[in-house]
C-alpha cells in the first residue's frame, strides 16, 4: 500500500447485560427457546408503548464516562425507520442529535506506542430480533426458501460507540477493538463476548494518497464479529480499494458484508433510496434527563479501568507485556492482586502466573479457578525461590504439584525433598571431593580459563542431587580455585 493511507472509523455495538430489555420488562434471554422472552412491547403489538430501562441508561453512562465523554443532561430518542422482518416496529428506537454521550477519547497501545482515538458519540438503541434464513444456501434473506424469526433479542439494550476517523491501520483497529472489549467487560455492563454476538463491529474504511487532506470514498463493512475479523476485513478492504483506484476505478460508497470463510467483503447492493431512515424524535418517549447527582453517583461507582490497572501492575514490578496479559484475564489478575497485596514480589508472581500457571491450565484444560492454586501459595512459592530455598526447576515441579492439589508449596517441597541445601558444610565437602577428582579442570582455571568453572559447578550440583544453592557452590569454587 505504498503511497496510500487508510482512514478508518469503527462503530462498536455492545449488548448490555441488564436483567430486562431496553423498553419492556422482558428478561434478556437471547439463548432461550425462540420467542420465549417476548411481550406486546418488544413484539410491537398494536397499542404497546416503550418505557426506558434505567439500568441500561446507567450502563451507557458508565461507558461514556470510561471513554471520557460529555454526558448530556438531556438526550433524545429518535426513530430510525426501515422495514425488515426482524425489526418488529419496522423502526428502531435509537438516537440522532443529543445522544447520551458525546466527544470522548481512548488511548490505546499499538506495539508499544500510545495513540489516541477520538470518540464521536456513544448512543443508546435497541437490538433487533434474529432471522434464520432456511434454504437457498446463502444464509441471506434474498434467496432463502423461508425465514424463521426469534424475537428474544428484539429490544435488548444496545450501545453504539462511534469513533472519529482517527485509525490508520488494521493493527490499530484491532488494538482499539480489544481495548473497548476490555473496558466494557471491566465496567461489568456487558459480557462483551464477541463469539456470542454481544459485541459486534462495523468498520468504515477509505483510502487516499499519502499527504492528501480530502477523505476518500468510504465503505461500511458489517458482520465483523471478532478482533481477528476486524484486522482481516480492514486489510482486505484497504487492498481492494487501492486496487480499484490504481486500476482507474472508483470506490463506491456502500455497505459491504464480511465473509469470514472466504475472507472477502462483498457488496450488499443496498439501493440508494432505502438509506433514508426518516429519523424523527420518538413521540412515545420524553427527553432523557440525567441529573448531575446521578452522573456523579455513577462516576463514583466506576470500577478501575484496564489502563489504570495495567499501570498499577507495572508499578508492582511487572513489565508492560505481563501487565497486559494479567489484566486481560480476571482469574490471573485476581491471583496477582491478592498475592502482591500479601507482600509477594509482583515481578516474580507475574512471571509465574503468565508462564507456568497459564501453561498448566492449557496443558490440562483446567480453568485456573478449578486448580488448587491460591494467592498464598504463590506468595509462599516465590518467597522460597527468592530466599534460595528452591531452585527454579524445583519450584516449577512444586507449582505443578500444588495446582494438582498435593498441598502447600512448603509441604510439597518437603515431601518431594526439593529444598536446596544452603548448609555450607555439606556443600564444602562436596566441593572438596569434586576438586580432588578433577585436577585438570582446576589447573585450567588457575591458568586463566573460566569455562571449566561451570563444569565443576555442575559436578557439585550432581553430587548434591540438585539441591545445593548454585550461588553458594559457585562462590565456594571461585574461592578455592582463585578464579
Amino acid at each position: 500500500m505504498s503511497g496510500w493511507e487508510a482512514v478508518i472509523g469503527i462503530e462498536t455495538h455492545v449488548e448490555l447485560s441488564t436483567h430486562s430489555k431496553m423498553f419492556c420488562s422482558c428478561a434478556v434471554d437471547v439463548a432461550g427457546p425462540p420467542n420465549s422472552a417476548c411481550c406486546p412491547v418488544c413484539l410491537a403489538l398494536p397499542g404497546a408503548l416503550p418505557v426506558p430501562n434505567e439500568k441500561a441508561i446507567e450502563g451507557i453512562i458508565k461507558i461514556g464516562l470510561a471513554l471520557e465523554c460529555t454526558i448530556n443532561e438531556s438526550s433524545l430518542f429518535y426513530r430510525k425507520n426501515y422495514f425488515y422482518p426482524d425489526l418488529p416496529k419496522n423502526y428502531q428506537i435509537s438516537q440522532y442529535t443529543f445522544p447520551v454521550c458525546e466527544g470522548g477519547k481512548l488511548d490505546i497501545d499499538v506495539d508499544g506506542t500510545t495513540m489516541t482515538v477520538g470518540i464521536t458519540r456513544v448512543h443508546m438503541e435497541e437490538d433487533t430480533g434474529k432471522s434464520t434464513h432456511i434454504g437457498g444456501g446463502g444464509g441471506r434473506i434474498h434467496d432463502a426458501d423461508h425465514t424463521l424469526l426469534d424475537f428474544n433479542r428484539a429490544g435488548v439494550p444496545l450501545v453504539e460507540i462511534v469513533t472519529e476517523p482517527d485509525i490508520r491501520s488494521a493493527a490499530e483497529a484491532r488494538a482499539y477493538g480489544a481495548e473497548i472489549q476490555r473496558i466494557v467487560f471491566a465496567l461489568g455492563v456487558s459480557d462483551a463476548k464477541l463469539e456470542a454476538g454481544s459485541m459486534r463491529f462495523d468498520v468504515n474504511v477509505s483510502v487516499r494518497p499519502v499527504g492528501d487532506e480530502v477523505l476518500g470514498t468510504r465503505t461500511e463493512t458489517k458482520n465483523v464479529n471478532s478482533l481477528r475479523a476486524v484486522q482481516r476485513a480492514i486489510e482486505y478492504e484497504i487492498d481492494r480499494q487501492i486496487n480499484v483506484l490504481e486500476t482507474g476505478g472508483k470506490v463506491i460508497q456502500e455497505t459491504r458484508h464480511w465473509n469470514e470463510d472466504t475472507g472477502v467483503t462483498i457488496s450488499m447492493r443496498i439501493k440508494e433510496e432505502s438509506e433514508d431512515y426518516r429519523y424523527f424524535q420518538d413521540p412515545d418517549l420524553l427527553p432523557l434527563e440525567t441529573s448531575a447527582e446521578w452522573r456523579e453517583e455513577i462516576r463514583r461507582g466506576l470500577p478501575e479501568l484496564p489502563a489504570a490497572r495495567r499501570a498499577r501492575f507495572i508499578d508492582a514490578g511487572t513489565d508492560a507485556v505481563t501487565a497486559g496479559l494479567l489484566v486481560d484475564d480476571s482469574d490471573l489478575s485476581t491471583l496477582f492482586e491478592d498475592a502482591v497485596a500479601s507482600g509477594a514480589s509482583g515481578r516474580a508472581v507475574g512471571i509465574w502466573l503468565t508462564g507456568e500457571v497459564v501453561a498448566y491450565s492449557r496443558r490440562t484444560g483446567t480453568p485456573i479457578p478449578d486448580t488448587s492454586l491460591t494467592a498464598p501459595h504463590l506468595g509462599e512459592l516465590t518467597g522460597m525461590v527468592d530466599e534460595g530455598k528452591l531452585s527454579f526447576s524445583a519450584a516449577k515441579e512444586v507449582l505443578i504439584a500444588v495446582m494438582d492439589g498435593e498441598g502447600t508449596p512448603g509441604d510439597v517441597a518437603e515431601a518431594k525433598d526439593l529444598f536446596q541445601v544452603s548448609d555450607s558444610g555439606a556443600i564444602e565437602s562436596a566441593v572438596e571431593s569434586v576438586l580432588a577428582e578433577n585436577p585438570d579442570a582446576v589447573n585450567k582455571i588457575r591458568s586463566g580459563e573460566t569455562k571449566p568453572l561451570g563444569f565443576l559447578v555442575g559436578q557439585v550440583m550432581r553430587q548434591m542431587g540438585g539441591r545445593a544453592d548454585p550461588k553458594v557452590v559457585h562462590s565456594l569454587l571461585r574461592k578455592r580455585t582463585g578464579a
Binding site: G47, A48, F83, P85, R278
Partner: protein, 494 residues
C-alpha cells in the same frame, strides 16, 4: 322516567345503590336499545354479550356484598375499537386487523374493569382514527341518530352514537385532532379531551402519539367527570404519562362562572364558520356574561397555520406508527406469493384503506431527507407558536370558548371525495391537541335542521377543573334536553 337506557351515569348509579334496579337491568336496557338502533346506525362493531353479562353479574354481586368501587360500578360503557381488549376482537376499523384478538387490555380498559364498569362492546371509527365522519371504516359507516342521512362525525363516531342513543351510558373515544369533541358536537353529547399525559395511551392503537389522548363521551358534564376520574392517573407503562396527582376535576362543578374571565377565540368566530353556529356560540357567550363571567375577545394568531401543521405532524407520526402492520406477527397477511418485501407491500396495500394510505404517504414524504426541514421541521415550529399563543391567551383569561365545529353534521358522502374539506371540520379542535391542553364540547341546542350544535371550552394544561366548571354552567344555561329521534326504544324501524 321512561327507559333505564336514558339515565345519566350518576342517576343510574343512584338507582343501583338504592336497589331500584340492577346492573343486569341496565345492561338489558342498553342491549334492547342497541337491538333497535344498530340496524340504522351501526355504532358497534362488536357487542360482547357474554363478557358484559358476567361483568354486570359481578357488579351486582359487589353491590349485594356492600362493595362499592365508585361511580362506574355496574354501568355499561362502550369502547372505541382502537383500544385493546384482551381476547375481544380489536380492529381499529381496519381490514389489516380483521379478527385480531389482543393478548392484553389497554390501561383504560383495566381501570374500567377495576372500577366495576360493564364493557358492552367495541365501537366503529374511521380506520385507525383517521377521519372526521366515521365513513372511513372498513366495516361500513356509522350514521347520525338525529338524521341518518348525516354523518355522526369522527373518528370516534361509533362511541359518540352509543352514548347519544343510549346503547351505552357513556363511552370512550380517542381525540387526536378533535375525534372526541367533533362527533360529540355532531351527535349532541358531551365529549372531552384531557390534558396530554393524564390518561394512559398504553393499549390505544396509536395514530399520532404526540397528539392522541383518550377521552369520555357522556350525556352530562358530571358524568364526564366521573369517567375521567376512573381512567386518568399515572401509568408506568406509558412514558408520556404525567407522574403527578391528577387535578380535582369536579371540584368546582357547582360554582358557576361569576368572577371568571372567559375569552372568545376571534379566529373561530368568522370566516369558515357557519353563521348559525356563530350565532349560537355568541348567544351562549352572552349568557355566560349574564351569569357573571367577564367575557372578552381573545386571539390565537397562529391557529390559521394549525391545520396545515397538524396534517404534517399527524401523518408523519402515523407513517411510522403504522409501519408495524406488516403481516409478519399479527393481523392480515396477503395470499400473494413473493419476496418478504412483496409480502409486506401487498399486505399493507390490501389491509389499509385509502385515507390511511394517503396519510402514510404524506407522512413518509414529510419526513424524507430533503423535505424534513420544509415540512415536518416547519410544522413543529408552528406547533410551538400555537402553544405560545395559548400561553399568552391564558395570561389574560381563565378559559377560551369557541364553536366545537365549523358546521353541524354534514351529509354522508358530502366530503368523502374531498379530503381537504373533511380536514376543515377539525379546524377548531386541532389547536388544543397541538398544545396538549384539555378541551370539552357541550351541546347547546339544535340548528334549523334539527341538528345539535356543540360549544367548546378550552383550558390550560391540567386546567380540567375550571374547564368543567365552565362546561357545567354552559350545560345549565343551555338546558339541552332534546334527544335524537332514534334514542328511544319505541321508535319503529323505518
Amino acid at each position: 322516567m321512561g327507559d333505564l337506557a336514558d339515565l345519566t351515569i350518576l342517576d343510574a348509579g343512584d338507582g343501583l345503590r338504592a336497589g331500584d334496579f340492577s346492573s343486569a337491568d341496565l345492561l338489558e336496557a342498553v342491549t334492547r336499545r342497541a337491538a333497535v338502533t344498530e340496524a340504522h346506525l351501526h355504532a358497534y362493531l362488536t357487542l360482547d354479550h357474554e363478557g358484559a353479562a358476567q361483568a354486570a353479574e359481578a357488579a351486582d354481586a359487589s353491590f349485594a356484598k356492600g362493595e362499592d368501587r365508585g361511580l362506574l360500578q355496574g354501568i355499561p360503557i362502550a369502547l372505541k375499537d382502537n383500544m385493546c381488549t384482551r381476547g375481544i376482537e380489536t380492529t381499529a376499523s381496519s381490514r389489516i386487523l380483521d379478527g385480531w384478538k389482543p393478548p392484553y387490555d389497554a390501561t383504560v380498559v383495566t381501570r374500567l374493569r377495576e372500577a366495576g364498569a360493564v364493557i358492552t362492546g367495541k365501537t366503529n371509527l374511521d380506520e385507525f382514527a383517521m377521519g372526521s365522519s366515521t365513513e372511513n371504516s372498513a366495516y361500513g359507516p356509522t350514521r347520525n341518530p338525529w338524521n341518518t342521512d348525516k354523518v355522526p362525525g369522527g373518528s370516534s363516531g361509533g362511541s359518540a352514537v352509543t352514548t347519544a342513543v343510549g346503547s351505552a351510558f357513556g363511552s370512550l373515544g380517542s381525540d387526536t385532532g378533535g375525534s372526541v369533541r367533533q362527533p360529540a358536537a355532531l351527535t349532541g353529547v358531551v365529549g372531552m379531551k384531557p390534558t396530554y399525559g393524564i390518561v394512559s395511551r398504553y393499549g390505544l392503537i396509536a395514530f399520532a402519539s404526540s397528539l392522541d389522548q383518550i377521552g369520555p363521551f357522556s350525556r352530562s358534564v358530571a358524568d364526564s367527570v366521573a369517567m375521567l376520574d376512573v381512567i386518568s392517573g399515572f401509568d408506568p407503562r406509558d412514558a408520556t404519562s404525567i407522574n403527578a396527582p391528577v387535578p380535582n376535576f369536579g371540584g368546582s362543578l357547582d360554582r358557576g362562572v361569576a368572577g371568571l374571565k372567559i375569552g372568545v377565540v376571534t379566529e373561530f368566530m368568522g370566516e369558515g364558520i357557519d353563521p348559525h353556529v356563530i350565532t349560537a356560540t355568541r348567544a351562549m357567550a352572552d349568557r355566560l356574561a349574564g351569569a357573571g363571567a367577564e367575557v372578552v375577545e381573545a386571539t390565537l394568531p397562529s391557529v390559521e397555520y394549525a391545520l396545515s401543521a397538524y396534517y404534517l405532524i399527524a401523518p408523519a407520526e402515523c407513517s411510522s406508527n403504522l409501519a408495524r402492520f406488516d403481516g409478519i406477527r399479527f393481523g392480515h397477511r396477503t395470499q400473494v406469493e413473493g419476496t418478504t418485501e412483496e409480502m409486506m407491500a401487498h399486505t399493507r396495500a390490501e389491509g389499509f384503506g385509502p385515507e390511511v394510505i394517503r396519510r402514510i404517504l404524506l407522512g413518509t414524504y414529510a419526513l424524507s431527507a430533503g423535505y424534513y426541514d420544509a415540512f415536518y421541521g416547519q410544522a413543529q415550529k408552528v406547533r410551538t407558536l400555537v402553544r405560545n399563543d395559548f400561553t399568552a391567551a391564558y395570561g389574560h383569561v381563565d378559559v377560551l370558548i369557541s364553536p366545537t365545529t365549523p358546521t353541524t353534521a354534514f351529509s354522508v358522502g358530502e366530503k368523502a371525495a374531498d379530503p381537504i374539506a373533511m380536514y376543515y371540520s377539525d379546524l377548531c379542535t386541532i389547536p388544543s391537541n397541538l398544545a396538549g391542553d384539555p378541551a370539552i364540547s357541550v351541546p347547546i341546542g339544535l340548528d334549523d335542521a334539527g341538528l345539535p350544535v356543540g360549544f367548546q371550552v378550552m383550558a390550560p394544561s391540567l386546567g380540567e377543573e375550571v374547564m368543567y366548571q365552565v362546561a357545567a354552567e354552559v350545560e345549565r344555561l343551555a338546558g339541552f334536553t332534546e334527544r335524537a329521534l332514534l334514542a328511544t326504544s319505541t321508535v319503529v324501524a323505518p
